[in-house]
Symmetry: C2
Subunit: 155 residues, 2 copies
DNA sequence: CAAAAGTTTGGCATATTCTGCCATTCAGAG
DNA sequence: CTCTGAATGGCAGAATATGCCAAACTTTTG
């Protein structure tokens, strides 16, 4: 029903991806509309689920979540039962920010956030490797962040 | 300066990580304060950089960014010059959402967002592998998303 | 080409929220 | 117990959001 996004919609989305708390008045000025139709478009984008939600982005280092690591996981078996239980387990761990099942070299990729290497090691030893489905884990530890973006590219 | 976060600050951060556009009146009610001191705390958290920014989270599938892939990159050499140029290059690509230098098996890990496998393949062939520093790339393609969170764990 | 239907826009009135100020309350030190 | 500093709650004015309606625009239809 909301066929495609016109240039104004994309402009709105671009702005809101950079500043999710901009006032509707300023947003309207920025995209070249008056406040009324601008707010209406935002509401439609929300109702269509194109805008999923608004969130505050915290500085990881300042809230004790300074270390991001990527873990690649191999399962003992690949049946539905195993992956289902694995999914339930990782959803319970707040340290696991993202988790994907892959078809490549390994079975799952996780992005995990902790305070430091020691607390990551504890998480891996005490929780991650104790999930019954898990055969082994390989960890890539970033030394430096070259880029971290929250803006999806809009064609 | 802002020694530590007290329980009310953490409560505020937890709520704002779930709903970055909640009105200050509702936020105050939720954390058990009146609007005035609540707004004051939020402003202090912003000024301290603990709240970095507010963003709208879009549904990737609905804006033509439905495929997330992880790419592991090996460099030809590991000197500072090479990594610097690599960083500049990836920052220019909007498809690259995150990029970290690693000390493990590979030299860099990237999270890349595109429309579909075909457009990813084109991105890798036309852009990623053409960065002079890049020796080789291995890609893990997720089949399914088990978890995607935007809330950092707050101890 | 013209007329009609539907959609989008802009402006206005009202309700809600934000913002800054001040007196009061609370916690801790002397 | 008293003093001091910080945090809180309430209030008034300013800014913003919200809903409604007429006008302008776009698209379809005759």
């Amino acid at each position: 029903m909301p066929g495609t996004l016109d240039p104004i919609d994309r402009h709105i989305l671009r702005v809101l991806q950079r500043d999710g708390r901009i006032s509707n008045v300023d947003l309207a000025r920025e995209v070249g509309l008056s406040p009324s139709p601008c707010l209406r478009r935002v509401r439609l984008l929300e109702e269509a689920g194109i805008i999923d939600r608004y969130v505050a982005v915290l500085d990881p280092a300042k809230v004790g979540a300074g270390l991001t690591v990527f873990a690649r996981v191999w399962f003992k078996t690949q049946d539905a039962e195993v992956t289902l239980r694995f999914g339930e387990a990782v959803r319970r761990f707040p340290e696991v920010m993202e988790c994907y099942l892959t078809t490549g070299e390994c079975d799952a990729v996780l992005r995990i956030v902790t305070t430091d290497l020691h607390s990551y090691w504890r998480f891996q030893a005490d929780h991650l490797t104790r999930i019954p489905s898990v055969l082994s884990v390989k960890t890539d530890v970033p030394m430096e962040t070259l880029k971290r973006s929250y803006e999806l590219p809009l064609r």
